[in-house]
């Protein structure tokens, strides 16, 4: 049992924190948020230069191979910074999908470009009606000569508007296939969205999208993709935890400085006890981030899913409670666009809904309860 971080891990955390503290202040971020694109390619390049986009690429593929703990620490920092750039989508999830499912050629073709920030890829998997189980999607792939034709629709794909390549999941006769589809492929439509946390995403339609023989990564990726997504959810949990730390710290500081009736509002016992409860939930959330991180690469899918879904549920509930109470304790200021608190609040709301809502993961945990 060991809750310390080694030097490399600590360096990753420090590097990310230091960079975001200098380059990603509230005002700087706010400008990006309001910009047409909603993100900064310059920030993206700087993240690449710091090596952070290679954090989840194995050393054998030229990456850092920082492992789940390294990913956790970087994601915690990007969550704390409320990063708008597609770190989680491209550098973790899409990257990991290629690492796990790609052939040597595909890995060699894509991983360096993703690590350098030249290219951005996203996984386009979730559908409006799909569930946590990978095989609940309905997008179909049919053979056409050497290649495939894809048809279907994907729902709220984060960072799809800025992606050069989409990794699209589709059902075919072999099971679930994963297909690399360039963003400008004919028949692929991206309906741009702004998400509740100010990020950019797209609903995607695929109408007879033709892709070549080399577009497919692996054969049936059902099992591998479940691991990719669990790894991604673990990182997302760390991201949410970063936002939780920030919003609670801001709330405590606000309650120390804001005076009413001649005293800081933090001196009122009812608010003190609420903040104590927020802290308890934060610490419980931290423990579940550690749990998810520890198990997100478990070969045993039951233990992996239990840890990851469990973390998603408990952190989702903490996100709801801490987020809402942070707004409440900020009073009117919590309602404005002008402080950290509302931005963290929306990031946390998005966390509750992304990659399977709290309810969906709760249902998943119930299934395991029966099986046990």
């Amino acid at each position: 049992m060991d809750f310390s971080f080694n030097d490399e891990q600590q360096m990753l955390l420090d590097t990310t924190q230091r960079f975001l503290a200098s380059a990603y202040g509230f005002e700087q971020r706010h400008k990006l948020l309001e910009s047409e694109a909603g993100w900064s390619r310059e920030i993206w390049s700087q993240l690449a230069e710091l090596g952070l986009l290679a954090v989840d690429i194995p050393e054998v593929d030229g990456g850092i191979g920082a492992g789940p703990v390294g990913v956790m620490l970087v994601a915690q920092a990007t969550g704390h910074g409320l990063l708008l750039e597609p770190f989680l989508s491209s550098a973790i999830i899409a990257t990991d999908a290629i690492v796990r499912c790609g052939s040597d050629a595909q890995r060699a073709r894509w991983l360096p470009a993703l690590a350098s920030g030249e290219r951005i890829a996203v996984l386009a998997h979730e559908e409006a009606q799909s569930g946590i189980a990978i095989d609940t999607i309905t997008t179909r792939a049919t053979r056409s000569g050497e290649g495939w034709i894809l048809s279907g629709a994907k729902s709220v794909v984060y960072h799809a508007p800025m992606a050069d390549m989409l990794l699209v999941t589709a059902r075919d006769d072999q099971g679930i296939g994963l297909f690399a589809v360039p963003g400008d492929t004919q028949g692929l439509t991206r309906h741009p969205l702004r998400t509740v946390d100010g990020q950019r995403a797209a609903d995607i339609e695929l109408e007879n999208v033709e892709v070549g023989a080399d577009a497919r990564l692996g054969a049936d990726v059902t099992a591998a993709l479940a691991e990719v997504i669990d790894n991604g959810i673990a990182a997302l949990c760390a991201d949410a935890f970063g936002a939780l730390e920030r919003i609670l710290k801001a709330t405590i500081e606000y309650s120390r400085s804001r005076k009413q009736f001649g005293v800081p509002i933090g001196s009122f016992q009812a608010l003190q006890h609420r903040m104590a409860d927020m802290l308890i939930q934060l610490e419980q959330a931290r423990s579940m981030v550690y749990l998810a991180t520890s198990h997100c690469r478990d070969a045993d899918p039951v233990a992996r899913r239990a840890a990851v879904s469990g973390a998603k549920v408990l952190i989702g509930k903490a996100a709801r409670f801490i987020g809402q109470q942070a707004v409440q304790l900020h009073g009117g200021m919590g309602m404005t666009d002008e402080l950290d608190v509302s931005h963290c609040f929306k990031r946390l709301l998005a966390f509750e809904l992304r990659f399977g809502s709290t309810d969906a993961h709760l249902a998943d945990c119930r299934q395991r309860l029966r099986a046990a």
Partner: protein, 391 residues
């Protein structure tokens, strides 16, 4: 004891329903249904004029000032029916807030000038209470009004001013004496928003909306004749106003409307191949909030009945405010939960995503204000502890 409305009340409800069916314009109704606030500035006065033509412009006003002199029960029925019919909410600041103060404490000139204009939606009123340092602790307000001949010269800043960007008039609490207790030196002024020296800056809220403002007063000259009642007695009038703001404080009608919508959503959304309404965990949440709302409706009627028995409106209003706002927030949460990941969509230009996207998530964000504004729920709990429980 009889919980049912009597025949006269039922007849009245039918009359209101018929009126709403006939007179509420479809475009307006649609916008309210979709949570589309883009036409606020036109819709609110337009609806006020329609109500006023029918003699219903001010449900709570006595006949002498042009009101229908309805009972509290009738007002309650009216509010619920309007909400369920997707009618725009009346702007409270004129009809429900400044008007009762003017009727009780205003000069005859003030009454004669302002009240008919409020009824006819000729003036848009807003409220100037909170200040950057004075939220829950309202009495600590600092905006200063100094006498200069037959004018006050007003300097200071107000915040959380709702919809003041459209306003013709603002009623303000200002400090006219800093010597004694903070509550003592406050006066109640009516200020024309066109007076030089007033500037309005909208505050962007977390849902992207602009519904509150900061207002600066820079040597704004206000005729002494626009002071309501006595100098330094404004706190009394503000407290009187507060008692009257609370008729519809529970928001039963709006909660019923949103609950109805939630149930429709849950019936139409499938999860694991069956309607969400049949999923036990989610259905339980709906049942629980529905029961709370049913109970609160009765609790509200009990308060109305007690008032009709000549009990003054009392701290019970805090119960209605707390529970009503919590219920509405809970319903908005459940609407977002029902939508799941699709609720992430805050904006998708040019597409028809149905009635609930992004309305539901915007409402969830926006309604966080309910437990903060209008006397935070923490302040309401203090009131209950002190006034009812006498702790």
């Amino acid at each position: 004891m009889d919980l049912a409305f009597n025949q006269a009340e039922l007849d009245f409800r039918d009359e209101v329903r018929a009126f709403l069916r006939d007179k509420l314009p479809a475009d307006m109704r649609r916008r309210v249904h979709l949570g589309d606030h883009s036409h606020f500035r036109e819709d609110i006065p337009r609806w006020q004029k329609i109500l006023n033509e029918r003699g219903w412009g001010a449900p709570a006003w006595p006949v002498e000032f042009g009101g229908p002199d309805w009972s509290k029960t009738q007002q309650f029925i009216f509010e619920i029916e309007c909400a369920l019919a997707d009618a725009p909410a009346q702007l409270a600041f004129g009809v429900k807030m400044v008007a009762p103060v003017l009727m009780r404490f205003g000069s005859p000139e003030q009454q004669q000038y302002f009240l008919p204009r409020i009824l006819a939606a000729e003036d848009w009123w807003c409220q100037g209470y909170s200040e950057p340092g004075s939220g829950s602790d309202l009495a600590s307000l600092k905006t200063k009004a100094e006498l200069d001949g037959d004018h006050y010269v007003v300097n200071g800043q107000k915040v959380w001013n709702t919809l003041g960007q459209f306003a013709d008039w603002i009623f303000c609490l200002v400090r006219t004496d800093s010597s004694g207790k903070p509550q003592r030196g406050i006066s109640f002024l009516l200020i024309d928003m066109k007076t030089p020296g007033i500037s309005v800056r909208p505050t962007r809220l977390l849902d992207g909306s602009y519904e509150v403002n900061e207002i600066w007063f820079d040597n704004v000259r206000v005729p002494v004749a626009n002071r309501v009642g006595d100098e330094n007695a404004g706190w009394t009038y503000a407290k009187y106003l507060l008692g009257h703001e609370r008729t519809n404080i529970a928001g039963i009608g709006a909660c019923q409307r949103e609950l109805r919508r939630l149930k429709q959503m849950a019936a139409g959304i499938e999860r694991d191949g069956r309607p969400l309404l049949e999923e036990a965990v989610f259905a339980t949440r709906i049942v629980e909030v529905e029961l709370e709302l049913k109970a609160l409706e009765i609790t509200n009627l009990r308060v109305i009945f007690a008032e009709a028995q000549n009990h003054a409106p009392g701290p019970e209003a805090s119960i209605l405010k707390i529970r009503g706002t919590e219920i509405m927030q809970r319903i908005t949460e459940l609407q977002v939960e029902a939508l799941g990941a699709r609720a992430l969509i805050a904006e998708s230009p040019g597409r028809d995503l149905g009635e609930d996207l992004p309305r539901a998530v915007e409402a969830y964000l926006n309604q966080r204000k309910l437990t903060i504004f209008g006397g935070s729920n923490e302040i309401q709990r203090n009131i209950i502890a002190q006034m009812i429980l006498q702790l």
